[in-house]
Symmetry: C2
Subunit: 346 residues, 2 copies
Amino acid sequence: MIKILVDAMGGDNAPQATVAGACLAAEKDKELYIILTGRKDEVQTELNKHKYDKSRFEIVDCPDVVDMNDIPTEAVRKKDSSLIRGFWMLKKEEDICALVTAGSTGATIAGGQLILGRIRGVKRPALCAGIPNSRGGVTLLCDCGANAECKIEMLCQFAILASAYAKAGFGIQNPRIGLLNNGTEEHKGDPLRQQTYQCLKQLNGINFAGNAEGRDIMLGDFDAVIADGFSGNVALKSMEGCGKLVLGVMKKEFSSSLSSKIGYLFMRKAIKRMRGQLDFDKAGGALLVGLKKPVIKSHGSSKPETIAASIANAATVHRNALIPAIDKLLEESGIDRLSEIINVGE
Amino acid sequence: MIKILVDAMGGDNAPQATVAGACLAAEKDKELYIILTGRKDEVQTELNKHKYDKSRFEIVDCPDVVDMNDIPTEAVRKKDSSLIRGFWMLKKEEDICALVTAGSTGATIAGGQLILGRIRGVKRPALCAGIPNSRGGVTLLCDCGANAECKIEMLCQFAILASAYAKAGFGIQNPRIGLLNNGTEEHKGDPLRQQTYQCLKQLNGINFAGNAEGRDIMLGDFDAVIADGFSGNVALKSMEGCGKLVLGVMKKEFSSSLSSKIGYLFMRKAIKRMRGQLDFDKAGGALLVGLKKPVIKSHGSSKPETIAASIANAATVHRNALIPAIDKLLEESGIDRLSEIINVGE
């Protein structure tokens, strides 16, 4: 049995979308046991709208809710909120495997660091999202928003974290790691990028494949691209914006004339596949990686399918023992021995 | 008469595309006088393939070419190359209005700074590209690659430069300026962004409209988004990558079955319009803004249409007196009086 906590009150469409997503996930994966944190009555009302296996669902009543306007460090003090109660349970109850939330990103990062805690040796957890790529799979982008300012050691650790996640979450055996930069040549970028490049080359157990430009996230043959949380966030949102523009223009153009409408009827399937290949929620939410247990942050606007994908993803990384794998890779990588380069650089 | 220099040897498709583009531009705008720099025989051979008005074309023989592998500061010494000769002519001959090149970005920036020179008071020139947006126009992104590391004063100057360009190049009267950041709230971002935000609020003559996220470049209602050259470059290339992925998937899917192919016939026009709205070369190349005369850097892979758009754009900013407008706005903005904030920040 895989016990997963779901913050039933997190996100714009909660608790409808969160509960529906949990039911969807539990139906697909019979090994799942779902703990929903939230206002009991509201959550039960939503649950009753679905057929669900009562023996695999549990509601933990949490009268409070973390608001999107709460300052993260203050949100962490809301012990009776669905999100923060979730973090405390995740920390204390050994048999709970993971937490999924579509709530406030800031509060999730704060809860992860201050309550659950980091894996030994990890400086800062990172948000690691799966971006759809031209191969029909996903390229991980790590960090895409948790740490606006990064140092060499953090970027190197992100490479280790993302590498372990690519393996445990997506079955990629020897994931190709890129460093997000403003050009592909070795000397490109600011001193942070130049020095990180040299360190990444020397890490053991990491298949460092050089610099990646913005376009390589979706088009290149990298399995994970490493970035500081500022430029990673800019990249993620720039791609999302472009994707949305395309879908918007498509929708408008495809109903712009009778001829287009007829054409659409013939192309429905192709267009559906196209939308699927551009789906930024394909892999569910972003994994907040580097914590003692998997925490997945789904989009605030998550639909039931996105929540279900996030839960499925949490189950996968648990099954494939992501956390011990990170421990091992951190140890093997020899990142400690790089402290000389790192200290000179910083 | 508007005299524009075109580096006939710059870019992957030179001199075919550059010469064809110059002919296209000259045909559309009878006021243009084109000076092509490059290997005379090769350029003349290309010119002969087109109908062109001999009285408005001139070739300046340059036996040398700047290579993409040349280190920028060394490229600048190639005085007989089509690009560097262009820069010297632009500097020395008062009646030449602008330079268009699809050659090396690094050499173009170096030539601009070291030969042509900056406008008085401008710290560093910036690459300012026009990104297609959801309103059917373009949003300027400044800087998108010239300066990997930026200080507060540079970002504030970019706002002034981009504002003047939006007005002179695209007829936008009171351009809305955004600061590229990892969130929209005022306190977001690293110290550089937080301090720049405060400075931008205080600049005169600039319509600062707050922080812009990556997605707002294509979807928001900003006319120009200000960025350091590193994250601006990441944003630009991330959007280009997404756009290319979409067009690739579309091409594949639309020929994937008989039904799709039939549908395509009905939708040809709509799809063509869609491609048009996603065209990153809509405005031609990026303006290297902050120099004493307009210099436009077109994509290395520029087609004749892109070169023609770049030339037309150069003519427009000349007609609308961009350079004096920058001078005036720099003066009016009161950026000098902000030195206290700026110096505390840096």
